[in-house]
């Protein structure tokens, strides 16, 4: 980014102050510091697209991934989900709610020093399978659990 900026500064007179500030503004806005934000994945409208955006072609279903989530969630706005991966060298855990308008909910890079365990609370629009997609040693695995939602939590 610094080199880009230098080039702009060198361009001197050709750059109006207005253009420069809007250029810098770009970096400050939506994407901000979030260079590591899987835009394609998070904006996918179908689970298959989201899985593809994770780079996971065809994840293998694995019994070594355990999803702890309620069978029935009364309030779709707050659904506790915990994922434990017992697969050796777990590098990444992603959570997908199949029928959400944007199925990919979160990706956690857990490679160094943290166990293959993550716990959070998610919003679910309706009854759906919740998937955990785990990357370990460069390979992808998955597991699913159905959560029945009484009142959706996307609106």
């Amino acid at each position: 980014m610094d080199r880009m900026r230098r080039r702009f500064l060198n361009a001197g007179g050709s750059m109006s102050v207005l253009a420069l500030s809007s250029f810098l503004g770009l970096f400050e806005s939506r994407q901000g510091w979030a260079a590591d934000w899987n835009k394609a994945g998070f904006e996918s409208k179908a689970m298959s697209e989201a899985v593809k955006a994770l780079g996971a072609g065809n994840p293998v279903e694995s019994r070594d991934i355990v999803i702890a989530a309620p069978d029935i969630a009364e309030n779709g706005a707050v659904v506790p989900v915990a994922v434990t991966s017992k697969i050796a060298n777990t590098q990444q855990i992603s959570i997908i709610s199949e029928k959400n308008p944007r199925p990919l909910l979160a990706t956690f890079d857990v490679s160094s020093g943290s166990e293959g365990y993550i716990s959070t609370r998610i919003k679910m629009g309706e009854t759906s399978n919740v998937w955990a997609v785990v990357k370990a040693d460069g390979k992808f695995y998955s597991a699913k659990k159905e959560v029945k939602v009484t009142v959706g939590g996307c609106g």
């Binding site: 909910l105 857990v110 365990y117 716990s119 996307c154």
Partner: protein
């Protein structure tokens, strides 16, 4: 402006059980306010957790993480007094960093 996080880390054997509670509206961009106007999207996109300065978790989130997000993780090879730091950045570029130390199991 963002309110502080609550971070609790207790040692179980040599694993630190870390629980983080953040304060954030996590607006989906779909919700309407009392006047019927759509509330613009505003959510935490990235969360990083470090253990004695070393990154142990790097998370990317969508708007579908619940309001006032909870995050639980377990850090291997931890000791009482180890320093933890948690940083989040949201879609408006706001950030917040809070620190905590690993405590003995009570």
């Amino acid at each position: 402006m963002a309110e502080p996080m609550r971070i609790r880390a207790t040692l179980q054997g040599d694993v630190a059980d870390v629980r983080i509670l953040m304060r954030h509206p996590m607006e989906t961009g779909l919700r309407k306010d009392a006047k019927g106007d759509t509330v613009p999207q505003h959510f935490i996109q990235n969360v990083a957790v470090t253990h004695n300065g070393k990154t142990v978790l790097d998370a990317q989130w969508s708007q579908a993480i619940s309001r006032d997000p909870f995050l639980g993780l377990r850090i291997k090879g931890a000791k009482v007094g180890d320093k933890l730091s948690v940083t989040w950045v949201d879609t408006k570029g706001d950030k917040r960093t809070d620190e905590a130390a690993v405590a003995a199991a009570s």
